[in-house]
Each structure stands twice: as structure tokens, then as C-alpha cells.
């Protein structure tokens, strides 16, 4: 550790362990700190401090640096009774420590800053990173040989979230996936690999993003899905493979986008049994019955239900929304402001999507809910300050100590969009197509950009705002609409 870094750590420790009294905080951080009475939280921090810069990142900044630290960053656990250190506590503390210098803007990593002092969203480097990630890959990527469809989806969808034109990938993607499509239907991870729900889901989404769904053999796809469908209403991931809630979400996505005949009516008791058994004692959702609750599975369940019917009908029917909302909200971490996948686990940028994107679905099911379930400004701050890789290559990452990858880039962008934009369900539209029997609920979502005032509060400039992303299918809305139109007639 360089000595300048040590100085910065000491400074941080001083800032956060200072025994100042902290009064009730409002949302407005710019409150007048000259008021009489108990020292306002910002006061003792606003003393001029000389920050020594690392030799590697010379920054032409003024000598005095004022840190305006949002209230949620104060390390909550320091405010409470100092209880026993356990491996979890050590891990949580270590992560908080690695993030604090970035969250507080003590270290802005040489990144260009927006008008609010937060790093800009690095649109071009992240786009370059995604183009690289879908390009020819080195031998080290052999471990991804069964997951190439994910690479197609993360990169193409991610680029589209950054408003890049992805039509250039259409022909190449169509040719790339031909050998992945099995004669008996569905897509595997590569040539000669068994068809798999996740691989098929990712392939179908990537094709939807570029408007290339014509390459899919819908008839054999339907037949293959029949072989992985289970009596309890769930779906195995592949013939002979495991069954969990991901299978249901993947399968329903495929069926709905491609308008395949639905064999079970949405209310089939089998399906109900399948979904309710995944919820735990408190309304959270795990991979299977009695399994530990996990953010990723929560999204799969909520999105799946939002395909089956209007969210305000299907979600409350099978899940305890109050409990689920509480559980989801509780996964937002302090001080980082991102989300963790499970209680007492670490923040990870990918949960910005798996948990962050749940709120639009949940809110559609909770009557009269407005903002307040989660802290959007905190998530945005985490992603922009801690989630972005510096340097020309770009990309977004789990946390500062992790390497960037396509998965985290895609889902970080989705999380940003969830925080920055508005999504709501149009309950006037019909939920079933009378002609083809297609479930239409998932196509009835509306979206709009956050207002200028809202973006102010989030401390982002216009260029830091990510595109509107469909809450259920996690693609640009126009791509989803195009798919809906393409297979409007249905049939096989």
C-alpha cells in the first residue's frame, strides 16, 4: 500500500469514526451547515484536508476537497453495538473498505466527472468492452464453451442499452446460432450440445435484440419444451438436468416471445403448486422449495408470474408481496448502496438487475405504491463510482476488486435503467390474445425516462442515463414489440 493510500485510509477512518452527534438527516445534502445547535453531519467533514494523490493518477484538482457524503454511506454497523466479529463480518467490512474511497469521492479514479461530481457513465469504453467480449476469444474462454449464448445476449443487449446500433450483428448471429440449434428443437451452448433452457433463453433474447428470430424452428422448439416440462408445472433446464425456477422463467419467455402454443392454462393448479413452493417462510424466493432465498431467483419468479398474467393479478395470487418487498428492500447494502443476493452476503453489481429490476414488477402489484421501497440514488452512486472499470478497456464489474465482464456490464446497465427510468403496467390492455391464445400481459408495459428533477436527485447528467429496458424480458422495448408483431398470428 502506498503511503498516500494509507493517508487516505486514515482520513476515511477519521471521517467515519468521529464521535460527532448525528442529527436526523433530510434528503437534501446541501443543507446549510452553518446552523447553530448540534453539529450537522456534514460539518466536521467539510474541513479542508489535503489529499495526497497517488503517483499513478495525477489529478489537477484544487487543494481543498469538500466531501459531501450522502447519509446512507455512514457505515451503519459502526453506529451500533460492536458485536462479535465473524467471517461474514470480516468479509462485509473488507468490501465496505474497498468501496468507501470511491463512494465518498475521495478517489475519483481519474475519471471524467459529471456536473454533480460523480463519474460519468463511461458509455464508449463500456461499448468497446462489450464489442471485445463478443469478438474472437482466447483459449482461456474455453470454460464458457457451454455458455456462448450468454455472451451473445450480454454483449448485444448491453450495447443496445447503451443506445448502440446492434443491427450489424444480425446476420452474423443468425449464422453463429445455426449449429447451436438442435434438430429435436431448442438451442445448446454450442454445436453438439444438448438443448438447455438458459442457452435457449439467451439465444432467443439475443436474436430478438437484432430482429433475427426467423432462424428459430418454432415447431421443434415447442416439441423440445414439451420434453423438459414437468408434471408440477416447472421445467427442467435440460433433459435429465435440474429443475428450478429459472427453468420456468426461461421457458415462459421463449413461449411468449415466439408465440408457441401454451399447453397448460395459466391457472393450472400444477403451475400454482410449482411457484408457491419456491417461497420461503418470509416470502422470499429460493431456487427450489425450502432453499435459501436468493435475489436472482426472486427476479425469475416475479418475471415468470408477470408473463402468466397482469402482475397485480398473478403476483399477489401466489406470493406474499409485502413480505417479498420487505425482503428485497433489505438486500440493499450499507454503506455501498448496491444489492446483495442474500442476507449477510456481499454487494455485487449484478444484483442491481436481479433485485433492482424486481421493484418495477413488485410495484405494479402493490396498490398505491410510489417511490420509497428502495434507494435509487444509492444504487446509481455505487454503480458509477465502484462498478466502472477505469482505463481504455472499460466494462463494469461486481465490485472494485473484481475484473469486469460481459455479465456484470449487461446487468449493471439494467440496474442503472431501473433506477433512472419509470416503468408501469398498463392494466387496460388485454392479457390474452383471443385468436392465438398467446399470453399478452408481458407486452403491456410502459416506460419513460426520469424527469430532469429526478435525475438531479440521482446526481446524473443526461448522458449518464441508460435506455429504457423491458422489465420482464430485459431487452429494449422496441425489440420486444417487434417480436410480438412478428409472431402475432401464432400457430406452428
Amino acid at each position: 500500500m502506498t503511503s498516500s493510500q494509507e493517508n487516505e485510509d486514515d482520513t476515511l477512518d477519521e471521517l467515519l469514526k468521529d464521535k460527532a452527534r448525528i442529527v436526523e438527516l433530510s434528503d437534501d445534502e446541501d443543507e446549510d451547515d452553518s446552523m447553530a445547535g448540534p453539529p450537522f453531519p456534514g460539518n466536521h467533514l467539510k474541513q479542508p484536508r489535503r489529499k495526497r494523490k497517488s503517483k499513478l493518477q495525477p489529478q489537477p484538482q484544487p487543494q481543498r476537497k469538500v466531501l459531501e457524503i450522502p447519509p446512507w454511506i455512514f457505515d451503519t454497523n459502526e453506529l451500533f453495538h460492536n458485536d462479535v466479529k465473524t467471517p461474514s463480518r470480516h468479509a462485509l467490512d473488507k468490501t465496505a473498505a474497498e468501496c468507501l474511497r470511491f463512494l465518498t469521492l475521495l478517489d475519483t479514479q481519474g475519471l471524467p466527472l459529471n456536473s454533480h461530481g460523480l463519474p460519468h457513465l463511461r458509455r464508449k469504453p463500456h461499448a468497446d468492452f462489450l464489442r471485445f467480449f463478443i469478438g474472437p476469444l482466447q483459449t482461456g474462454f474455453t470454460a464458457m464453451d457451454a455458455s456462448r449464448p450468454w455472451l451473445f445476449y450480454w454483449c448485444i443487449a448491453g450495447l443496445s442499452f447503451l443506445d448502440q446500433d446492434v443491427s450489424e450483428y444480425k446476420e452474423r448471429l443468425i449464422e453463429t446460432v445455426r449449429p447451436l440449434q438442435n434438430p429435436a428443437g431448442g438451442f445448446g451452448g454450442g454445436h453438439g450440445q444438448y438443448s438447455h433452457c438458459a442457452c435457449t433463453y439467451a439465444t432467443v433474447l439475443a436474436l430478438t435484440a437484432v430482429g433475427g428470430l426467423e432462424v428459430v424452428d418454432r415447431k421443434t422448439m415447442w416439441q423440445w419444451l414439451g420434453t423438459v416440462k414437468q408434471d408440477d408445472g416447472g421445467f427442467r433446464m435440460a433433459v435429465g438436468a435440474e429443475e428450478d425456477i429459472r427453468g420456468a422463467y426461461c421457458a415462459m419467455t421463449i413461449i411468449t416471445l415466439l408465440n408457441l402454443p401454451l399447453e397448460l392454462p395459466p391457472d393450472a393448479s400444477a403451475r400454482k403448486a410449482g411457484l408457491t413452493s419456491f417461497t420461503d417462510k418470509l416470502g422470499g424466493i429460493g431456487g427450489g422449495p425450502s432453499n435459501e432465498v436468493h435475489g436472482a431467483y426472486a427476479f425469475c419468479a416475479l418475471a415468470c408470474l408477470s408473463i402468466l398474467d397482469a402482475p397485480h393479478i398473478s403476483i399477489p395470487k401466489y406470493l406474499d408481496i409485502d413480505a417479498l418487498a420487505r425482503w428485497l428492500a433489505s438486500t440493499q447494502t450499507t454503506p455501498e448502496g448496491g444489492f446483495a443476493g442474500r442476507p449477510n452476503k456481499l454487494v455485487d453489481a449484478c444484483y442491481s438487475h436481479w433485485v433492482g429490476a424486481c421493484f418495477a414488477l413488485i410495484e405494479a402489484a402493490l396498490p398505491g405504491t410510489k417511490d420509497g421501497l428502495w434507494n435509487k440514488a444509492a444504487l446509481v452512486r455505487y454503480l458509477l463510482t465502484c462498478g466502472q472499470q477505469t482505463g481504455p478497456q472499460g466494462g463494469m464489474r461486481d465490485k472494485p476488486s473484481a475484473r469486469p465482464d460481459g455479465y456484470h456490464t449487461c446487468y449493471s446497465l439494467s440496474g442503472l435503467s431501473a433506477a433512472q427510468n419509470h416503468y408501469w403496467y398498463d392494466s387496460e390492455s388485454s392479457t390474452t390474445d383471443a385468436g392465438s391464445g398467446r399470453l399478452l400481459a408481458a407486452f403491456n408495459w410502459q416506460a419513460k425516462r426520469g424527469t430532469a428533477e429526478e435525475l438531479e436527485v440521482l446526481k446524473v447528467d443526461e448522458e449518464d442515463v441508460v435506455a429504457l429496458i423491458h422489465p420482464v424480458f430485459v431487452l429494449r422495448l422496441e425489440a420486444v414489440e417487434a417480436a410480438r408483431q412478428t409472431f402475432e398470428a401464432g400457430g406452428l
Binding site: 438527516l25 447519509p71 467480449f133 450483428y169 449449429p179 447451436l180 435440460a238 450499507t334 452476503k345
Partner: protein, 286 residues
């Protein structure tokens, strides 16, 4: 030339090389010659659904090169069963692979298939424990352990002792709390009551309160407490005085747990307050 091309054991098979997917495929991986060669032979033999000892060798090689290859695992399982192979030997092999690849979950479905077929679980609890030494919260391993308990009726064969030990090592291990709940309540369908039984409930509440006393700022036992209340139908209000031991709305300096505050907020009728928002708004003194 790959190693299989010269191997007499493979002389009857024409390998199926990888179909690239056009002149300019996306996400094209630069496989090693060995990987490409081995996959080409596997493709060929899968096309005729052949099961034989050489296939076991082939799949073993591929698993070494890419343990995440789900097709290879699924095909290997079929082959093992078709050949009536010694599944104990397979378990030994699996142990090594599992320990070397913590994040891999194909391994656990495969183990599931093997142990299910063996219809015996000797040594499984012990092996799972070895996995937890490396990562005490490995999601798929905990799922596997639940399956073991249910499949082989291990409810009273040391599961609570094991879980209690995990909690002693880390009272914040949410996976362990989840397993504890499962062991206590998982047999309701068979008529064995969990916390719906008053004695069991009392024991569980005391256990949880002790855990909270050790580390009040720990979400897991507070969730557990709520779960007990919900499951046994008792009102959260019963927990009010306990919650007040760890947080008080009148004496902010006495706040020892944001989860206690959260619980008080619910008891007092303010619903849907996100913990993070609450913490940002509360008054506290140091």
C-alpha cells in the same frame, strides 16, 4: 493430429468437427487442438448414443478441460448407468473435482444422480462438510445437503448438531439459518410439527434470542424470529419487548440493531419501510 485419431480404440469413429457457425461467428473461442479433437469425437459418439468405457475416458478428459460443460456431465451419467459402473469410484473422482471447482454446479446435479442411484449416503454428510470449509455459504452445496436430508431421512442424524456448529463458526451464516429452519420444520407434510408445536417454538425462540444477543446487528436471526411468528400464527406484537431491548424509539442511544427498529416499525403499524431508508432517517447518538 489429435490423440484420438491414432488411437485404435477409436478407429471405428469418424470425428464430427465443430461447425463454426458461418465465416465470422460471434464469441468464437480459440479452443486448444486437444479440446477440439476430444469434442469432435464426443459429438460423433453422441450421434449414435454410444455408451462404452472409452466414452467414460472421453468425458473425463473433457470435464478436466471444461468442468462447466453440462452436456458432458449429462452424457457421462447416462453412460455410467448404462454400463453399470462402480459409482463409489465415481464419487471419489467427484470429490476431487468438486473441491477444485467451488463455483461449479453441474457437479452437484451429477452427484445427486449418482447418490440417488446408489441409494446410500454414507460419507456424504462428511464430504459436504469439507466443501463448507472452503465456502460456508455455497448455495448448491446447501441445496444438495437439503436433498440428502430429505432423501435419506437424516432429520435426526446429526443435522442440528452440524448446523449449530456452522452457526458457532459464523452466526451470520444465512445459509445455515435456512438449513436450521428446514431441519426443524421440514417434516410437516409427514406430520412432524416444527415451530407449530409450542415446545418446539419456545426452544427455537430462545435459541434465536441468544443468537441475537451475541450479534444484534445480524439480519438472519431477526428474519428467523419473524418466520417463527408467521408460521406459528403468533402476532409480532409478542416480540415487542424483546425488540425494545435492542432498539428504542425513545432513547436513540440505545439502538443496537436496525432490524429491531424495523420490527418495532412493523409492530407499530408502519408497513413497508425499507431498512436502508429507515437507517438513513433515524436519529441516533453515539
Amino acid at each position: 493430429m489429435g490423440k484420438h485419431d491414432d488411437d485404435p480404440a477409436w478407429s471405428d469413429i469418424t470425428p464430427l468437427p465443430t461447425s463454426e457457425g458461418g465465416p465470422n461467428p460471434l464469441a468464437a473461442i480459440a479452443y486448444t487442438e486437444e479440446y477440439e479433437d476430444t469434442m469432435s469425437y464426443l459429438r460423433a459418439v453422441m450421434a449414435s448414443n454410444g455408451f462404452s468405457p472409452r466414452v467414460l475416458d472421453l468425458t473425463e478428459d473433457l470435464i478436466d478441460m471444461n468442468p462447466a460443460h453440462y452436456t458432458v456431465w449429462l452424457y457421462r451419467a447416462q453412460c455410467l448407468f448404462a454400463l453399470n459402473s462402480d459409482l463409489h469410484v465415481e464419487l471419489e473422482r467427484l470429490n476431487e473435482t468438486a473441491l477444485a471447482h467451488q463455483k461449479n454446479y453441474q457437479i452437484w446435479h451429477h452427484r445427486n444422480l449418482i447418490v440417488d442411484k446408489l441409494d446410500k449416503c454414507e460419507g456424504e454428510q462428511g464430504f459436504v462438510q469439507r466443501m463448507f470449509v472452503k465456502d460456508a455459504k455455497n448455495y448448491h452445496v446447501w441445496c444438495y445437503r437439503q436433498w440428502l436430508v430429505k432423501r435419506f431421512g437424516l432429520w435426526e442424524k446429526g443435522e442440528l448438531d452440524f448446523t449449530e456448529e456452522m452457526l458457532r463458526e459464523d452466526i451470520r451464516n444465512n445459509s445455515a439459518w435456512n438449513h436450521w429452519w428446514f431441519v426443524v420444520n421440514g417434516r410437516e407434510a409427514e406430520g412432524v410439527a416444527g415451530v407449530t408445536d409450542p415446545d418446539s417454538r419456545a426452544r427455537e425462540i430462545n435459541f434465536t434470542k441468544d443468537a441475537i444477543a451475541k450479534a444484534p446487528q445480524n439480519q438472519s436471526p431477526w428474519n428467523y424470529l419473524r418466520g417463527i411468528a408467521r408460521k406459528s400464527g403468533i402476532s409480532l406484537a409478542h416480540l415487542k419487548s424483546f425488540a425494545e431491548q435492542h432498539a428504542s424509539l425513545d432513547r436513540p442511544g440505545a439502538v443496537k440493531s436496525s432490524f429491531a427498529l424495523d420490527l418495532l416499525a412493523d409492530i407499530l403499524g408502519k408497513r413497508r419501510v425499507a431498512t436502508s431508508k429507515l437507517v438513513g432517517r433515524m436519529i441516533c447518538w453515539r
